[in-house]
Symmetry: C2
Subunit: 298 residues, 2 copies
Amino acid sequence: MRAYGGIEAGGSKWEFAIGSGPDDVRAAETIPTSTPRETLDRAIGFFQREGPVDAVGIGSFGPVDRKSSSPTWGQITTTPKPGWAHTDVGQEVRRRLSVPVAFDTDVNAAALGEHRWGAGRRLETFCYITVGTGIGGGGLAGGNLLHGLLHPEFGHMRIPHDRELDPFAGVCPYHGDCWEGLASGRAIEARWGRPAEELEGKPAVWELEARYLALGLVCVICVLSPERIILGGGVMRCDGLLPLVRREVLALLNGYLDSSVVRDGLADYITLPALGPRAGVLGAIALAEALGRSERAA
Amino acid sequence: MRAYGGIEAGGSKWEFAIGSGPDDVRAAETIPTSTPRETLDRAIGFFQREGPVDAVGIGSFGPVDRKSSSPTWGQITTTPKPGWAHTDVGQEVRRRLSVPVAFDTDVNAAALGEHRWGAGRRLETFCYITVGTGIGGGGLAGGNLLHGLLHPEFGHMRIPHDRELDPFAGVCPYHGDCWEGLASGRAIEARWGRPAEELEGKPAVWELEARYLALGLVCVICVLSPERIILGGGVMRCDGLLPLVRREVLALLNGYLDSSVVRDGLADYITLPALGPRAGVLGAIALAEALGRSERAA
């Protein structure tokens, strides 16, 4: 069986794995994200030590350049993360490991992983949204990963913000109170003074969070008409949040969508990732696998 | 050359055409939308009189059922338009004309027309949005029309609404102040007491309208990452609106998207349909043509 390498390149940690799917992970490691130099050296060292691999897939925090014709393909581009703007990841991994490399956003990778082995199986159009430190979204439409001009940036949608109810200004350095600015883990911590996981059992926190998440999800539903929405990321693991989100989405749709998924209360429509926190790194393996398939077909 | 029939089934008028593209329209007619019975009889009469045609494409106001496996394929489903809910269009046209019929939303049809002959040529991912009596959106992602669970319903996104600046409650019967509720032609007329075309030269009208349109467009950009946005519909033909919309979108993005289209001030990114008001009916012809292609390939 072929061995693929996966890298989930996150803003706070990087995960590496070698294998061919969730039941065949032959090696795995997680490291904290430090400088680009050190982080990349440790990634490459992992595959040199644990490999060889036939191809590597990278799902990265963004924005990224994933246009294969671009001279800066494989870069993390205009990220506000200190020291990381315009960091080449894909080209360096490809050069130093001498294997084909697939490069996409972390959320597109996770969507592909869920499509291959998880909650997106047999679906052609669905999305994967992570609600963690930030908010990001990716997905498939008509069976293809969402790309387009750049790639989706779900977190930067503008959503209604009632400043009387919630005077918090938002944490996005570009937009203040965009979706990520109001509803990400960073926003929760800044608004309430404590991180999300220390706020369990505070209904006001989660009612507001569910409302904001639902407002963004309704936009996603209206634009993409996904067959399912998979919600990953640390904030979504907070107890009781998911049912509140479903309830708020139903209230906002207000009967407009005539679909059995709505009549079922969205229980099967808005779900957690079947691959859990491994969706990203397994998705990176799926990216590598898909690249191998397309290269053998060519 | 093959002869395709196109029907743009709108809430206020239906357009019919026979031909193979914008330079080959052999017959065309526009009628006001009346009852389903009379309107369908006139549509079928047109093709019986002016045909024969090899296939018919229908781009319809919605919501519609376009799942080919569904027993109610070809219906306009839960529309609030009086007398039109659950009206079969596609199956009746297919039965009475005995030709293959392609059935989709009016905006997906228009997107396909622009893809085939207009402002969407050579693009794989873009959207077509109509701002008329209502607001609707469709498009292509990765070269395929956007479908998914049902079909896109851009008009029902929730956007920020500052009720101090604009106390108007919105006109959407389901959502009040969703995008369509605040920024459609119907909303303009209800807010200002006169239809859009009689409000030219009133800056307050168009500043507010551009702001609302831009808020929705930013959501579309964040979810779909389109390579271009084509804005059709009667409201968009109001003098001076398009540059205001571009300016507001730029302001809202606030430098976040690192793309040459943004650096060019969006002049080539947010555009009117190259096919003008014929985008819908020509798009319906493109739907019929695509159906013919896929049936010959099968």
